[in-house]
């Protein structure tokens, strides 16, 4: 029953592909396009968040090409779909770097997918721009973190609640995975050590991914908040699970004036899936909001609407991170005069490009960038109204100052230090990120 001829032709196909693969590097010429890899899930659970980032990078590439490309060469997007499958991220990253030979990768959303890609980009010496807020405790030679570190989102948000709202009791609610757990650990230590918040005034709660039944937890929060002290919820609840959470809050009559909820993972895109009228006044902390009132932002929104063809499409914080990251990379390539990874890596430190909120973002030696921190209140049209912002930009801190073990670490990828986790007390470098991460999970 086994058809022989097709098998033959498969072999023939494989052979010809192989020969093509061998021949490809030799063909790479000066006027060939510069390849930009896009590693975002287009299917599976994360497609909801990641597919818009793919579109964003494609739009940025289009815009760059209209301006004449880079170094006189055109840019070309290479899109792969890691399908929300963490090990597949590593495979696809390998495919991008060794087969497609891309010059840079923009990609990833969840921390676990970044951790899976990390050893591959380090081994093959690639460049990865990671656009999402994350838990910190990492700095890789090959990764540029354009999203917020905890000190650029969580800590300022807590300060705002403490000083401007007068919160005394804290609910730390999160989805059960690495980002909320690390962030909450940092916040707990911060509240206890810096403000002397008592143990009984902090309630920590974790829920599984995609949790949809919030009745009990919301009722507990209500209970916790009726002790006569101002209470707030700090939410690291991820993605979809927020919608039923906010619905339950609204239905159980918890309004923002009584118990405000400040969220780190709820942006314009998440809100576009809910009726926000009962949520007015709840807060979110980001480094960008679609409602930012600057011409650069309005131009970006107009371009985005034109690109998607949907008048109602929204922009969000990770999109701005890609906007900044892409422009930084382009600037560094221009500065270095080549797309060669090692040279771009050195050239990009210190590069500063405009962000969308009217200021500048600079790449720091620890591969994190400077960002303003904005606190916004949810409006009935699914947008945020900015109620507070840091007076100046904040530089991202890879290693939290509030955690045992990471307090003494610094990251500096400039010569002569060139280390992502230098211990200032012991005066030694901890070595590669991938091994360090492995040691931590063991």
């Amino acid at each position: 029953m086994i058809p022989t001829i097709p098998a033959l032709s498969y072999r023939w196909l494989a052979a010809s592909l192989l020969s093509l693969g061998v021949a490809a590097p030799a063909l790479a010429q000066e006027d060939d396009p510069i390849k930009v890899g896009i590693l975002h899930s287009l299917s599976g659970t994360m497609a909801i968040s990641e597919s818009t980032l793919k579109d964003t990078v494609e739009m940025l590439i289009e815009q760059q090409n209209e301006k004449g490309g880079l170094l006189g060469r055109q840019l070309e997007a290479v899109v792969v779909d890691p399908a929300s499958d963490w090990p597949l991220f590593a495979e696809k990253a390998r495919e991008l770097l060794s087969q497609e030979e891309v010059d840079v990768i923009f990609g990833n959303w969840t921390s676990v997918s970044r951790k899976s890609v990390l050893p591959v980009v380090e081994e093959l010496n690639g460049l990865l721009f990671y656009p999402v807020q994350y838990e910190g405790e990492e700095s890789s030679e090959n990764v540029f973190y354009t999203g917020a570190a905890p000190n650029q989102q969580a800590i300022p948000a807590v300060n705002y609640l403490m000083n401007n709202v007068g919160v005394e009791r804290w609910v730390l609610a999160g989805t059960d995975y690495v980002y909320p757990r690390t962030t909450n650990k940092i916040l707990e230590a911060y509240l206890r050590d810096e403000f002397g918040v008592a143990e009984e005034d902090i309630m920590v709660n974790y829920t599984p991914f995609g949790h949809s039944d919030w009745q009990n937890i919301v009722s507990e929060i209500k209970q916790f908040g009726s002790e006569g002290k101002k209470t707030a919820v700090v939410s690291t609840i991820n993605g979809d699970a927020n919608v039923p959470f906010y619905r339950e809050l609204g239905n159980q009559g918890i309004n923002a004036a009584d118990i405000p909820v400040v969220a780190f993972s709820v942006g314009e895109q998440e809100l576009s899936g809910i009726d926000t009228a009962p949520l007015v006044g709840h807060l979110a902390a980001w480094n960008y909001f679609m409602s930012v009132d600057t011409d650069a932002n309005y131009d970006f929104i107009d371009a985005w609407i034109e690109h998607t063809g949907d008048e109602m499409s929204v922009t969000n914080d990770p999109m701005e991170a890609h906007y900044i990251g892409f422009n930084m990379w382009a600037e560094a390539v221009r500065k270095a005069g080549t797309t060669e990874v090692d040279e771009v890596k050195d050239a990009i430190i210190g590069v500063s490009v405009p962000n969308l909120s009217g200021g500048y973002a600079a790449m720091m030696p620890n591969h994190h960038i400077t960002k303003p921190v904005l606190i916004g209140e949810i409006q009935d049209n699914g947008q945020f109204s900015i109620v507070w912002e840091t007076p100046s930009t904040v530089a991202g801190d890879a290693w939290s100052d509030y955690l045992e073990g990471s307090r003494d670490l610094i990251s500096d990828w400039r010569k002569p230090l060139e280390c992502g986790n230098f211990n200032v007390v012991e005066g030694s470098c901890g070595g590669g990120q991938a091994e360090a991460a492995e040691a931590e999970t063991d």
């Binding site: 709202v165 974790y206 039944d213 619905r247 159980q252 899936g273 009726d275 049209n381 109204s385």
Partner: protein
């Protein structure tokens, strides 16, 4: 800030009570109105708070509208001309506006040119209590009750006198009681020990908050009395919270029953392992969304119409799956499982490409939002109450179909003994199609209900497929009553465990419990008896 906020509603009350509200001609007041609004266009929230106060005390008859629009974030200012406008619709890029002074139509303006007068939570509170004070004078009893409830805990010295007079002239006992409680909280905050007696036994959370702060009072007498009053309240609350947990459990259970009941037919009765069951639920939810898109502005009607539409859409999809895949794999459960799993992935990706990978907004109609207050400590959320009722109705209808109709009889005959049923002249293939369509349609109904509770997105179905199988197996394959009892009891068990061990562990414990239970009784809670069980 705090001082100002508490002062304002009091002043307003005084104005209203003593007839100080001057009647002003609009044309004379153009400049004055502009000046009042101008004061709002500052960045400092404290300055804004003062500006709000002067609007309230100005006695301008437009002030109420201004306060409402400010609260809604619709009061905006043209960047260049400085003209104040009220935005009617703030989605998209160009917004229709009216003039804020004359309330006349002012065409469309680009959002680029408009500056929103931003408020924060503190100002929102100030505006809300100012509006609540105004509402105390309306004719509508419900509005007055809401207003009085809103004022609990925010009564201050300036408001005491006017509120006392209001209590005297108020007809509604509930409003009177709330106002008196509000006054008592104020007195308690001042350190008056007698106020505690008035607050005793109240289950209101703001009263509890006030008593809780009183236990930290410097006066030991007040602190003790407050603790004693709290103890009494806690007692009552314990009964409440027991009832609440039961309700939470039944509500979660009803969701499980809804999701599983369709599967109880296709898997339980027909024996087909349909991994695409979750996606049939998803189709029902998307039908609700589609209906709401077709009938904009009428979410309630759309939801009601979505019930039959969701049934039909999912039933048709079910027929397609049965005809296209399952009929060829009869008696081969493993292949069926794999093939239907493939179908489920195809359906998910289809929705992602055709509609969008993003979640869709399904609006809850007015009558399904909020909660039904049983007493001040216990209220049942309306959307879940409706879903609970809906699940029971669907179950009852399904039982009727299976027990009282010809289709039900034929289904039972075919599943018990296919060959014999065919010999009796029943067209088994047709019955297969009808049964599968029925089970799929019911999944669609579940989707319509779930659209009111959770996200409507391509992944909706995945979250329920495991739970559905769990419920059916636990209840006893082939037994609809089993599914009902299993779903409801799993819901209650889960919700009773959750406060103790957390949501993550509660799920695990329930799963382990089911595994152990199945070890002991492999056929579930209500095993089928007789010869049918052998097959």
């Amino acid at each position: 800030m705090r001082m100002i906020r508490s002062f304002v509603p009091g002043l307003l009350l005084l104005c209203l009570l003593f007839g100080l509200v001057p009647v002003v001609q609009a044309q004379e007041d153009e400049a004055a109105g502009q000046a009042l609004l101008e004061a709002l266009a500052v960045s400092s929230y404290e300055a804004k708070s003062e500006a709000i106060e002067s609007i309230i005390t100005s006695g301008d008859e437009r002030s109420r509208r201004w306060l409402e629009e400010l609260l809604g974030g619709k009061l905006q200012r043209h960047k260049e001309t400085g003209r104040f406008v009220i935005v009617l619709e703030n989605r998209g890029r160009n917004w229709p506006v009216i003039d804020a002074l004359s309330f006349e139509d002012a065409g469309e303006m680009s959002r680029r040119d408009l500056d929103r007068i931003g408020i924060n939570n503190a100002l929102r509170g100030q505006l809300q209590s100012a509006l609540a004070v105004l509402d105390l004078y309306t004719d509508d009893v419900d509005d007055r009750r809401d207003a009085a409830r809103e004022l609990l805990g925010s009564v201050d010295a300036a408001m005491v006198e006017p509120l006392r007079e209001l209590v005297g002239s108020e007809d509604d006992a509930e409003v009177r009681r709330l106002l008196e409680q509000g006054l008592a909280i104020h007195r308690l905050n001042e350190g008056d020990i007698d106020a505690i007696a008035e607050l005793e036994g109240s289950l209101n959370s703001r009263v509890r908050a006030a008593l809780n702060s009183a236990t930290r009072s410097d006066n030991p007498l007040v602190a003790d009395a407050a603790s004693a009053a709290l103890l009494d309240i806690e007692q009552k609350l314990r009964i409440n919270s027991g009832l609440e947990t039961l309700y939470f459990g039944l509500s979660l259970g009803s969701v499980l029953v809804l999701a599983a009941i369709g599967l109880a037919i296709t898997f339980g009765v027909m024996g087909v392992i349909n991994m695409a069951h979750g996606e049939l639920i998803m189709l029902g939810a998307y039908t609700t969304w589609g209906m709401q898109q077709m009938l904009p502005g009428q979410p309630g009607l759309a939801l009601v119409l979505a019930i039959p539409a969701g049934f039909v859409v999912s039933a048709l999809a079910g027929i397609a799956i049965e005809r296209g895949v399952i009929q060829f794999l009869k008696g081969r459960p493993l292949e069926t499982l794999l093939a239907t799993f493939g179908v489920s992935l195809i359906l998910q990706q289809l929705v992602r490409t055709v509609i969008s990978p993003l979640n869709r907004t399904v609006v809850s109609p007015e009558w399904m939002s909020g909660s039904l207050m049983i007493n001040e400590g216990l209220s049942l959320t309306l959307n879940r109450l409706f879903v609970l009722g809906f699940a029971l109705v669907v179950f009852a209808c399904l039982m009727l179909v299976m027990r009282r109709t010809r289709l039900g009889l034929e289904v039972r005959a075919v599943t018990q003994n296919r060959a014999m049923a065919r010999a009796m002249g029943i067209r088994a293939t047709r019955v297969d199609i009808m049964t599968f369509a029925l089970g799929s349609g019911v999944a669609g109904l579940a989707g319509v209900a779930l659209s009111q509770l959770t996200n409507v997105g391509p992944n909706l179905g995945q979250n329920y497929i495991i739970d559905s199988f769990m419920v059916v197996v636990f209840g006893g394959v082939g037994n609809l009553w089993g599914t009902l009892v299993a779903g409801l009891s799993l819901g209650v068990i889960n919700q009773v465990l959750e406060p103790w061990v957390g949501a993550v562990l509660a799920k695990i414990v329930v799963l382990v419990f089911i595994i152990l239970f199945i070890q002991k009784r492999p056929r579930g809670l209500f095993p089928q008896k007789g010869r049918a069980a052998e097959g």
